[in-house]
């Protein structure tokens, strides 16, 4: 009896710790997952450059066929590395005003996220952000694209 109780307790605790790692997107004002606590400029936790940049047409957040093919290796990588997380960073070129560029970059990152969702990558292991026209330290100038970084 005691052993069973301990086992059940163990399972419950395991369940609780695992579920704490994932984002609760259904909560209206959920904050960021602490696992992503600082992944900004200068952070060496993000591995960039493993996947090619996904390029977009001017003012567009539509993922073109040629760019979709570039995303095939990402799904494969995530299946082989179940503990990895992805950071999808969206950019815009000289397309418009600053705030429009920021939102356009985010639209692009979300479009890539949705494609990866459909190819089997879990929502819980991806986060998006947009830099708009700005170039964070440590990155090349990237127009009209989404860059995929890996967090292990």
């Amino acid at each position: 009896m005691n052993r069973l109780a301990l086992l059940l307790l163990g399972f419950t605790m395991l369940e609780m710790t695992t579920s704490c790692k994932f984002l609760h997107r259904h909560e209206l004002m959920a904050g960021r997952n602490e696992m992503y606590s600082y992944l900004g400029p200068g952070s060496d936790q993000v591995e960039r450059g493993k996947f090619p940049k996904i390029i977009f047409a001017e003012d567009s957040a539509m993922l073109e066929e040629g760019e979709k093919r570039k995303l095939a290796p990402v799904g494969k990588f995530m299946r082989e590395n179940p503990s990895a997380r992805l950071l999808l960073a969206g950019f815009a070129g000289e397309e418009g005003t600053d705030e429009y560029n920021r939102v356009l970059g985010e639209q692009r990152a979300q479009v890539v996220r949705k494609f990866l969702l459909e190819s089997g990558v879990s929502d819980a292991v991806m986060q998006t952000l947009s830099y708009g026209l700005d170039i964070p330290e440590g990155l090349d100038h990237n127009e009209r694209s989404v860059q995929i970084g890996i967090v292990r």
């Binding site: 997107r25 418009g96 005003t97 939102v103 985010e106 639209q107 947009s130």
Partner: protein, 382 residues
Amino acid sequence: MFYRSQFQILVAVLLAGQGLAAPLEMPGELRKARIEMLPFEGSLGATAQQKVQEELLASGDYMIRESGGDAYKVSAVASGGKIRGTVAAASGKVLFTETYDHLSLRINVLQFCDEIHGAIFGRPGIGLTQIAFVSDAPGNKEIFMCDADGSNVRQITRDRATCASPSLRSDALLLAFTSYVSGYPDIYMIDLRTNARRRIVNAPGTNSGAAFSPDGQRLAMTMSFAGSPELYVTNPGGFGGHRLTNSPWGEASPAWSPDGKQLVFSANPTGRPQLFTMASTGGVPTPLATGYSHTTEPTWSPDGQHIAATVKIKGRKSIVITNLTTSQTHLLADGEDPCWAADGRHLVYVHEGKLIVHHILQGTTRTVISNLGHLAQPSWSR
């Protein structure tokens, strides 16, 4: 579950290809007023009179006459740290008499001039209003503020990360803005009286474009945590969030109508961003055609009758003003990121990285800041 009708979108997109230009129509009250300056008395009378006259002339709203006839009469007694100013109508009837006793002659002069404007035009002048803006002078983009004439520039953020999208509450006491200091675009609030700062929105994805409602009770913004950039309205603490849009079209840059009942914003259904208006409590967005195929960053005039925005024509950005009653759109000048002044007569915007204040009716411009790196996204208090 998109917008009201596909037909309206089609019409808006078709109209977007043509540049409809029309003469700017503004209410008749916005003409220059005639003023006669009676000699100021008191030990500082001459200095104060000179400063008041300079300020009135610089505003572009007045003609200063020598004497006689059909003019408002401005007089004052200035001594010690005070100005006691009086404005009378041409008939001699005193419109107001007020004592200004602030820390500096400059502030006394500015407030007197603001109230002269109020007595004559029915709306206070903007001399004491504040402009918040982005500058990259420190090496990265930070938030700065200045007085309406570009003086008293001070740096508000020192995040050493990209800051953007400042929004001043009407009374210039609170400032909302976006900062990447956490590594992500989150929204912060600074109390400018105490410099206390709080992060108010840090949902996953991109949070940006915070805009104070005219009554200071609500913030509109873009958040993308639900899977696509959408408009939300929260209280100034970032709580009580209410989602307003639900489409894949990337709603951005919300701005409030002066009565707080509507929002105007840009969205991008076809790769050609255009403006939409919508009830600020949520509802069906209505397209607002400007006649241009790439319109973003709208701002709503204090009289509720005009919306200014940025259009992109063959790669160049220009300011347009759309008259909501006639639906005519007027091309104003080269530049981007316009924001209306509280008097509805001035627009601030950025051109070639400089901050420009444009007197809409007189058609005159003044470069208000030109030596502080590359500027962007001004927000003007009321």
